[in-house]
């Protein structure tokens, strides 16, 4: 099958998943169910696209197929910011009440974090791997600080951060859907001329530089994009640790080409299918009361181990 035909099939499948989720068992009065389910589906699509997009780009600039942006500690920092806000201002504080404001502050702080990592580490060492190592250390640092503060706060307030810790589509922060959609659209537009350069990056740093890619500039732009894209799913629904690895690798296996335009589209469709389809089956068919992210992390963990064993055999 040709790549474009595969994309068409995947697109149809994801459309079916989305429509099933909205209209299955909707009853006669659509006006009641539509806004609620519509918001959920919008969050799913946005999350799916953001996760797929950021993971594929991150894997390209790090030359590694089994990483996701979470190794850099982006979501740990996000969680840390939420906990700090709760710790100082409480559950009724302005940070928690106004979600758009919260998101703007958090995303801006994340950008600042990336900027410092880039300035202090990458520019001096010129090495993506060192950057990731520092990222991993930062992840642990922010993680520990977060847990420490969570110990101290009121249990009721703790429940609020907990929502951010695990992705759940049952409490979508609907206020953020519009902002997220705008950001994803802008990022996607900004990215289009970059995709062909990222294709060249797949050859490795030396070939990329030889072919006229300004390596440092491309890494910087990619990091900015990744930071923005990571903030969206974390804010909308919560963390999705393994989804990025699953969908990007599935996309690489499915697509015959290495071209980012295809791979990212394919990965995005896979992740919409995984989220919307998975949530539909869980909620409406089996009436399970767990969130899809638990299943995705479980399946993702197994797939990750499979990838590790396969890579080590090479």
């Amino acid at each position: 099958m040709r790549d474009s035909a595969k994309l068409a099939v995947l697109f149809a499948a994801s459309l079916v998943c989305v429509l099933l989720f909205i209209f299955y068992d909707a009853g006669s009065d659509l006006s009641f169910i539509l806004p609620e389910r519509g918001a959920k589906v919008a969050a799913m699509v946005l999350t799916g696209v953001a996760v797929a997009y950021s993971s594929v780009i991150f894997q390209t600039i790090t030359f590694n197929r089994i990483l996701t942006p979470s190794v850099m500690g982006f979501d740990a920092v996000y969680l840390f910011l939420q906990t700090v806000a709760l710790f100082f201002f409480g559950g009724g504080g302005f940070m928690m009440v106004n979600e758009v404001f919260n998101f703007t502050v958090s995303a801006a702080s994340l950008m600042l974090f990336t900027f410092f990592l880039y300035r202090l580490v990458f520019v001096r060492k010129g090495n993506v791997f060192f950057l990731m190592l520092v990222g991993v250390v930062m992840w642990t640092l922010f993680r520990s600080l977060t847990v420490f503060m969570q110990m101290l706060i009121d249990p009721n307030e703790y429940a609020i951060v907990q929502d951010t810790m695990f992705a759940s589509f049952n409490n979508v922060r609907a206020d953020l859907i519009g902002v997220s959609a705008v950001i994803i659209a802008l990022v996607a537009l900004f990215c289009v001329p970059m995709l062909r350069k990222l294709d060249v990056m797949l050859l490795g740093r030396e070939h990329a530089v030889n072919l006229g890619i300004s390596y440092d500039v491309l890494v910087k732009k990619s990091l900015i994009i990744i930071t923005l894209l990571v903030a969206i799913p974390t804010a909308l629904v919560g963390q999705m640790t393994f989804l990025g690895i699953i969908v990007s690798n599935l996309a690489y296996e499915t697509m015959k080409t290495y071209k980012h335009a295809y791979v990212i589209t394919c990965a995005s469709l896979f992740s919409i299918i995984a989220i919307a389809g998975g949530q539909f089956i869980l909620e409406r068919v089996f009436y399970f009361n767990i969130t899809i992210s638990v299943i995705i992390n479980f399946a993702g963990g197994i797939y990750f181990i499979y990838l590790l064993t396969r890579e080590s055999k090479r």
Binding site: F63, R196, V200, L203, V209, N210, L211, G212, I213, S214
Partner: protein, 252 residues
Amino acid sequence: MMRTENISKFYDEKAVVEGVSVDIPKGKITSFIGSNGAGKSTLLSVMSRLIKQSGGKVYLEGTPVTDIEDSELAKRVSILKQSSHINIRLTVRELVSFGRFPYSGGRLTQEDEDIVSRAIGYMDLMESENNYIDTLSGGQRQRAFIAMIIAQDTDYVLLDEPLNNLDMKHSVQIMKTLRRLTDELGKTVVLVIHDINFASCYSDYIAALKDGKLAGFGTVEQMIESGILKDIFGMDFDVREMNGSRICLYYT
């Protein structure tokens, strides 16, 4: 002309290349020779902006390379390093097509396709052009990478040990191709090469490095000479004139 001026490269305190100034003559083949660790590859990497030097400057036709846009430089200078592991599955033709990226930005025109075909033909890879590179032998893979550099069509071609992994037949074939690139198309080729006899038979100029410093630069006739080679490598060479080339005997 490509010129390095007082190039130095330090790793921590250790100098790998120290104060090397050399003029690479245009339209000729220049070979860098020297022992392992003499700084040949590092110098080549600095010249091609893969590594940032600690001191000194590289000039391309009188302009410092730092003043030339990366995308513009890729149309004028190309570099191929020794080990070339690639993460993705590519066919030979797809790989060679990447050589046109500086011109086409990834959208190949008919002209680009023709140049790619010609480069594949130059390297005798027509039969395997649709094979995946991870299925090729080491020699074929090396030729595929050289084909990519040929497709890039730059005036200056820098190659780091291009004969690595190649048998005698293909080594000769590659050296002849490089000769044709210089003689017919006027390219300037700079090589790091370990086989002194290939350097002697196919180069115009030889630059010798020892302990990170330039130990000598000159034509083949000036440089392939037992006294000079003994200084560079610290061993005895028996240099003979055969069929108009200088051949070094050093095996026993």
